[in-house]
């Protein structure tokens, strides 16, 4: 996969990359500490504490943890079901850690899938996510309307035999914009989302509404526009018979005419990307 060379990364992108790396480090550290009997609440708290110890004070959203069939959002009806529960981890169970810390004013939003011991179904799902990462980048570079890219991802999932589970997210989004956040002494959150980040998102939404774009990448008409320059946290989420898998990472979209520079993944040195490279 081609990405902008690191030397060309502006200071700003480097800041985002730093926090994304930190978040993935956190995910790997917490995943290594998961054992049978740990509950979703405990896993979420572990992520929170790990990041707080390293200087994270604000959140785009608080850490989530989903275990077992909750990784595929089975029977999710209301958004409150996303919050961590007392479900305990058992051997062979899949899990997903999802966190969005704000560090030095930069936001990351990441998703990390794994399982306690071996889970062949989730392994398969993770392997099949690679095609989605490629598809999304290719079509964003082609400047296809976001709604159509969404539908193409959907079609690929169906062809692979899976269900689209990002549809369960608020507004059914496959991605949303992330941005810099002002550091404040108080960083209250509302329903798990940081108020500063929500403010940023709302400002974008208002702005975009006037110009005909939206900070939410959804299957709906308001996403029927070409990719908007900025940083997008992209999170394709596959579900298959009670097992789910996703990755989430930042896609950088610029207004450059060079296709390579017009869109690229912020960082290619991430656990899931390394895994695909190892399997080859």
């Amino acid at each position: 996969m081609t990405t902008a060379v690191s030397s060309e990364l502006s200071v700003e992108l480097r800041g985002f990359r730093r926090v994304q790396r930190l978040a993935y480090e956190c995910a790997e550290a917490v995943a290594a500490r998961l054992e049978p009997g740990v509950t979703e609440r405990e896993a979420a708290r572990m992520q929170r504490e790990w990041l707080r110890e390293r200087g994270v004070r604000d959140w785009f959203h608080l850490p989530f943890a989903w275990f077992g069939d909750r990784t595929a959002f089975v029977n999710f009806r209301v958004p409150f079901q996303f919050f961590p529960t007392d479900r305990a981890l058992a051997p062979g169970m899949p899990f997903i850690l999802d966190m969005a810390p704000v560090y030095e004013g930069y936001t990351a939003d990441i998703g990390y899938s794994g399982s306690l011991g071996v889970n062949p179904v989730q392994d398969r799902l993770m392997a099949d996510l690679e095609a989605h990462r490629e598809l999304i980048l290719r079509e964003v570079r082609e400047r296809r309307p976001l709604r159509e890219i969404y539908e193409d991802v959907d079609r690929l999932m169906v062809r692979q035999g899976y269900a689209n589970r990002h549809r369960a997210y608020p507004f059914g989004v496959i991605a949303h914009k992330v941005d810099r956040v002002k550091q404040r002494r108080f960083s209250p959150h509302l329903f798990g989302f940081g108020t500063q980040s929500l403010k940023g998102l709302a400002a974008d939404a208002l702005h975009g509404h006037r110009e005909g774009w939206s900070p939410l990448w959804s299957p709906y008409r308001f996403s029927d526009h070409p990719p908007q320059p900025g940083l997008w946290a992209v999170e394709p989420h596959l579900g298959f018979r009670g097992t789910g898998a996703k990755f989430e990472e930042i896609l950088v979209v610029t207004d450059s005419r060079d296709p390579e520079q017009s869109a690229f993944w912020l960082d290619d040195d991430l656990p899931h990307v390394r895994r695909w490279a190892e399997e080859k």
Partner: protein
């Protein structure tokens, strides 16, 4: 797993080729027959009442290839001699002596795998729960015969806490046990068996229980039945009144429950896990005499269970809700490359079935097969065939029967969409939609159904019709016609096959979110307009978002409940009701032209 092709070749095998010997024990002489290589694991088959070891001939023949199969006539039955006097000669303790004597002769130093049917299972429960056989039994497969001790506790629990449901269960089993009361009357049963009942029994079995004739029942039937009455008289009252409190199984148990058993309620086995932890449950839609009527299935479950026990009992791969019913069964789904077909293949795979995924697109069929194996199918294959192509279907059927066996469940799912007014629909359009939607089903039923019926061991055919089969619409004349035909075909076939234990179900889904919309043909419009309509209908179906997985669940339920017509989705159920009670309203809806 038994390949059915091979099973058929052995179907005429009786116990004639068996090595026989006589074993003296406790004042009687037992007739013991052995088949297969004595080096292989030993399987002991114990017959029930009123039977002799020949009840197992079909199953024994199928097992003999891989196992050392041992059968014996229980004392007083077949060619074993009867104790003198009869009263008190049939207690479970004496039957256990007999069993141990047989083991000492045929497998003195290796534990055996035990299989019992009816009274054979009742006494085997005794063998597997008493101390002196510990270490002699490796596994036990129980068919239609509860432990009298467990039965006693089952009754006691219901008498002590008689909730309405429990009273219902008690009365239900009480009614099914009528013959037990009859057998307790003195002399009369013996007279009946040695007289008219003995003469008529084979015909009764054939008519009521659908047990095929042939070498069973044997000539010794009337004396078997007369002596066997003492099995009941010597044990039932004593055990039911004072069940042993420690009747725990000391070997892994597999329980095979025929759902249509006229003598034993399925509820008898509720809570059996208390006595036999790690119980493997199997159910099959059949009547009491499954060793005669379903030898293929019984033999393959016995084999599978023995293999899993000998292999250290690995965790079962299939954890689906219906694993007890579909484990190891062969299921073929057409149009399995996407949508409802694919979801159905996965649902059967989760239940442990062996899946043949057929699609005209080789890649997606292979993909379905691959994922099926991941979610629990012990084996799965992707096959390429166009259901509308008669020759391709014949080839497919030939290959499936040769390599995988006769189907247990056939799902004719493949179908295409066609929309447009009647006059815009060309004859070519008509031909195409009828070829796939109707002829595809006909070919499937003809080719696979014929073998199912020939085998005579039941099965199920599921045809995917549509809510359009009873909901007329000006927009779907050809499609609705094809689906109405499928619905009627299913009903007619159901009438024809019901006597053979083969069920036929028509599933009528409404709007389900599958890719039928993006491949559907829209007659009478140009290509760009067709593309636009495909896209719009796909979005509409996406908004409705009824998942194909729910249709798959309905299909499994239809097979289990042997349902005739199953509308799925609320709109389909609504249309189904309206077609009966408000057909006028349906006709008015039919006039609406949907705008896409």
């Amino acid at each position: 797993m038994t390949a059915d092709g091979a099973g058929e070749a052995r179907a005429d095998v009786t116990l004639k080729g068996a090595r026989e010997r006589r074993i003296a024990t406790g004042g009687v002489e037992l007739c013991v027959a052995e088949l297969g290589d004595p080096e292989q694991p030993t399987v002991v088959l114990v017959h029930g009442y009123p039977d002799s070891k020949e009840v197992w001939s079909e199953v024994a023949g199928r097992l003999a290839g891989r196992f050392h199969v041992v059968l014996y006539d229980v004392r007083g039955h077949g060619r074993s001699t009867a104790p003198q006097p009869l009263r008190g000669g049939f207690t479970l303790a004496k039957l256990t002596d007999d069993f141990l004597a047989v083991l000492d002769a045929v497998s003195p130093d290796r534990p055996v795998h035990l299989v019992g049917h009816d009274w054979g299972s009742v006494q085997s429960w005794e063998f597997v729960t008493v101390g002196r056989t510990e270490g002699r039994i490796a596994s036990f497969t129980s068919i239609s015969g509860p432990s009298l001790d467990h039965f006693g506790h089952w009754i006691n629990a219901r008498v002590k806490r008689p909730t309405p449901r429990r009273v219902g269960q008690l009365l239900g089993q009480g009614a099914k046990s009528w013959y037990v009361y009859m057998l307790h009357t003195p002399v009369l049963p013996e007279l009946a068996w040695r007289g008219p009942l003995g003469k008529r029994w084979p015909r009764i079995l054939e008519r009521v229980e659908q047990v095929p004739g042939g070498d069973y029942p044997t000539a010794s039937l009337s004396s078997d039945a007369a002596h066997g009455a003492w099995l009941y008289r010597d044990n039932v009252r004593a055990r039911l009144a004072r069940p042993r409190p420690d009747a725990y199984a000391h070997a892994p148990v597999q329980l095979i429950t025929p759902q249509g058993d006229a003598f034993l309620s399925e509820r008898l086995y509720d809570g059996l896990e208390r006595w036999a932890p790690q119980l493997t449950r199997r159910t099959l839609p059949a009547k009491h005499w499954v060793p005669r009527t379903r030898p293929d299935q019984v033999a393959s479950w016995i084999e599978e269970f023995i293999m899993s026990v000998d292999g250290g009992r690995p965790e079962p791969k299939a954890t689906g809700r219906h694993a007890a019913r579909f484990g190891g069964q062969l299921v073929l789904v057409t149009g399995a490359g996407s949508g409802i077909g694919r979801a159905t293949a996965f649902a059967f795979a989760e239940a442990g079935a062996r899946v043949v995924a057929v699609d005209r697109d080789a890649e997606s069929a292979a993909r379905t097969a691959e994922l099926s194996r991941l979610v629990g199918a012990p084996e799965a294959w992707g096959e390429t065939a166009d259901v509308s192509d008669e020759q391709a279907m014949e080839k497919l059927a030939e290959k499936v029967h040769r390599e995988y066996g006769v189907l247990d469940v056939l799902v004719n799912n493949a179908g295409i969409g066609l929309s447009g007014s009647f006059f815009a629909t060309t004859t070519d359009d008509w031909r195409k939609v009828l070829d796939v939607n109707l002829w595809g089903v006909i070919h499937g039923c003809r080719l696979f159904g014929a073998r199912m019926s020939e085998r005579g061991q039941g099965g199920h055919i599921v045809n995917i019709a549509s809510a359009a089969a009873f909901q007329p619409s000006r927009a779907l004349p050809a499609y609705s016609t094809s689906k109405a035909a499928v619905l009627m075909l299913s009903e007619c076939l159901r009438a024809e096959l019901t006597g053979q234990g083969i069920g036929v179900s028509a599933i009528c889904p409404g709007i389900v979110n599958t890719n039928i919309t993006s491949t559907a043909r829209f007659a009478g419009v140009d290509e760009t307009e067709e593309k636009r309509r495909q896209k719009n209908s796909a979005r509409l179906y996406g908004k409705r978002n009824y998942p194909p997985e729910k249709v798959a669940e309905a299909i499994l339920d239809a097979v289990i409940g042997d349902k005739a017509v199953v509308p799925v989705t609320p709109e389909a159920r609504g249309a189904h009701l309206m077609s009966r009670f408000l057909p006028g309203a349906l006709r008015r809806i039919a006039r609406v032209e949907p705008r896409l």
